[in-house]
Symmetry: C2
Subunit: 215 residues, 2 copies
DNA sequence: CGCTTGCCTAAGCGCTTGCTCACCCTCAGG
DNA sequence: CCTGAGGGTGAGCAAGCGCTTAGGCAAGCG
């Protein structure tokens, strides 16, 4: 149910970044940051991956930190968007929570390089940029908490500690970006389904029909 | 002069590191790595925090990476120890799983600076050291999986995907190190209790008595 | 054609990094 | 007293860092 009418996985995930050279640099930076971390990545490495000279980077971005901020901002926007559209969707709280977790996890697994940068490199941002991003994260938290509160009010969920459970649910989903490996046995879809099931158990909503994804 | 080795009344977490100067350097490194990350930390910063000159570091450690390795090794040993003693303890699978999660989470919250370094700076290790650490992590995974398998065999747990659930449980616990804040509202004990409850729900074992920790 | 504009590079500046080296201080054993 | 070893320091090296600068080249336009 719920007919996940999903805007198809963007074939060009960074279509909003232009011109072309700026996008190539940003994609190269995502890869490099995800592999080695922000501080261990050099501007020469980023430029090299994009097939450019080190100086080319500074035509499109003022600093290396601005690159990280752009990535972080776009990624958080996307993540929040995913959560919001599930939270504001139709259906019972259980259905909405399940959909939110499934799509949120699918994104973290499918775009785990981006997600890794977005979720684990916050410390490298400037104070100003970090507070901007933290505000977005609080909105993500609010979106999930709202679904859980709805479920509790409707008597569908049994949750003694709503803020704590909200935190745990988001934490569980976010950490997917850390361990997910493309060469592993699980597809993003499978992980999403498994996690949606686990989260429904956490809030005391029995998964429908016991139809748990088996393998 | 005054007693150089003063008992602080709290546990001495790095008692196994000697001599004294080496321990002070290690503690300084844990703080710095946890705050800024390995790559953003300079050897001068570590030495400075320990009240020494930059060169002093190299009397006790061959490289900066060796410091990280020592921290990571000791931390993983401790974490594995905690999980093992819960897994090998007595009681029903639900009791053992609950105890394992509670103590594991309590450690990650209470020693969140150390845990942050231990859990999130693996990439900075040399290939050799990283494979050594990864082997320890696989043992942690095995310890948790064993409890869950016991519960399934005993008919106490309802777990469709044991490896997936094991991964999720560990992931949930580990991520505590990322978000836990000393100035937050929760104590390590409270988080441990909340999480133990959540994990029992995840494996389909009804939490005992419904005595869930309230805010 | 000359001139501007946008994108890019080669070279390199100033600084910081991990790490080393020559030397010093303290103290136990003879 | 001397000696030698272990723990410490100030100064600094080579390499690598983020970033800048001067200039090149192609395209659009009078």
């Amino acid at each position: 149910m719920g007919a996940a009418k999903e805007t198809l996985g963007e074939e060009q995930p960074w279509a909003e970044v232009s011109p072309d050279a700026a996008r190539r640099l940003l994609i190269a930076a995502v890869e490099a940051f995800a592999e080695r971390g922000y501080h261990a990545t050099t501007t020469r490495d980023i430029a090299g991956r994009a097939g450019m000279s080190p100086a080319a980077l500074y035509i499109h971005y003022k600093t290396k930190e601005e690159l990280l901020h752009r990535i972080s901002r776009l990624g958080h926007d996307k993540a929040l968007d995913i959560l919001r559209s599930a939270a504001d969707g139709e259906g019972t709280p259980a259905e909405r929570l399940s959909a939110a977790v499934r799509s949120f996890v699918r994104w973290h697994a499918g775009h785990h390089t981006t997600a890794r940068v977005v979720q684990y490199e916050l410390d490298a941002l400037s104070d100003e940029h970090r507070t901007e991003i933290v505000a977005l994260r609080r909105q993500s938290d609010a979106a999930v908490r709202e679904i859980i509160n709805d479920g509790v009010r409707a008597g569908e969920f049994d949750v003694p500690d709503v803020p704590g459970t909200t935190l745990a649910v988001l934490s569980l989903c976010i950490d997917v970006a850390r361990w997910f490996n493309v060469e592993g046995r699980r597809t993003p879809d499978e992980v999403g389904a498994t996690y949606a099931d686990l989260v429904l158990r956490m809030v005391g909503a029995v998964p429908p029909g016991g139809a748990a994804p088996q393998r």
